[in-house]
Symmetry: C2
Subunit: 175 residues, 2 copies
DNA sequence: TATCTTTGCAAGTGATTACTCACTATTTAT
DNA sequence: ATAAATAGTGAGTAATCACTTGCAAAGATA
């Protein structure tokens, strides 16, 4: 990975997250990264390839993020970490940018990465079962849906107070 | 409103909802509507004006949809109608298309229409207060966030089972 | 040092973009 | 009936799009 290659990736992440994929031209990415436009195609083949490279980098990020939750044995901790994950993202500048892109791409391509969420869903189902909830599977689904809703607000609603709601949520789950 | 004008609006709604605003060219809209491209600019000034016309039409839809909930006096009915609103949208073909566009535009422009939700939020807060909930305002926020999460799944997750989750939700709220 | 591969840039390519303009057909108002 | 306003078209416009090509510079390998 050369220096200019990383500059391209960083510029593309920022512009794609800010303006969207199809509204960002390769010439803009090149100018923002301070390289020639042709270099993008040398390294990433085409515009789609550039996007894939960014998303792939993100999948690793998601895996390590989920791994910590999935490996947790204390059921209450599983739920707490799931909720706090969203809170953490909302406060980290670079993480927020990355996840905003993730959701933007979802809406642009209309593809929800269900398989990525599966291990987390399983861990949550397990946690709710241990805690004696009546419908653990649906409780798990609901919590993940709440996460999607929170993500929407964090990304789109200016000045959204995430902390108040996450702490309210934790109270609801007796954490 | 002439016949061709409506054809343009209908075509734009369908294409914007399917492919996104910036990925849909005015020439495609014209071809899909079966009119000349110039007519779009005659009636709507520019591409942005076409989008505004569609969104405006939608605001009326939203107002009438919310009005029924806001005017309800029975607190349980307020909550039930709020939940069922999502379910209804997910089953109606044309409504689904319209709301999908609404969310797509939100993510493309990064503007969340908070003011539109305010009356609904107020009605929900009132309902939760009447039912003796400890934090009515936060309960209202949470339910609206759940709605956003559900909307995300309905639009993006293929074969998402909305009915199971909405009925689960209603059970949670003792409805 | 000589050769081969990778990295990088400038200047292109045809296609498509949003939008305009000159013009005709159709309503509407007087 | 006639003039004015509106509806509609089709062929343009310059700018931008994703992408290619030819060639030079820099590293790596021998």
């Amino acid at each position: 990975m050369t220096e200019k290659q990383e500059k391209i990736l960083h510029a593309a992440l920022e512009l794609f997250a800010r303006d969207g994929f199809s509204s960002t031209s390769t010439s803009k990415v090149a100018a923002y990264a301070g390289v020639s436009e042709g270099l993008i195609f040398r390294h990433f083949k085409n515009k789609e390839g550039l996007l894939k490279a960014i998303l792939q980098e993100g999948e690793e990020k998601a895996r390590t993020l989920f791994a910590d939750i999935v490996l947790e044995s204390d059921p209450k901790e599983v739920i707490r970490k799931t909720i706090d994950m969203v809170l953490h993202i909302s406060t980290s500048r670079s993480d927020l940018e990355f996840w905003k892109l993730q959701y933007k791409i979802k809406w642009e391509t209309e593809k929800y990465g269900e398989h990525k969420m599966e291990p987390l869903h399983l861990a949550l189902t397990n946690a709710f079962t241990k805690l004696g909830y009546a419908s653990p599977d649906r409780e798990a689904s609901l919590l993940l849906i709440i996460n999607d809703g929170l993500a929407t607000r964090i990304a789109l609603q200016q000045g959204f107070d995430c902390e108040t709601l996450t702490s309210f949520l934790k109270k609801k789950y007796n954490i």
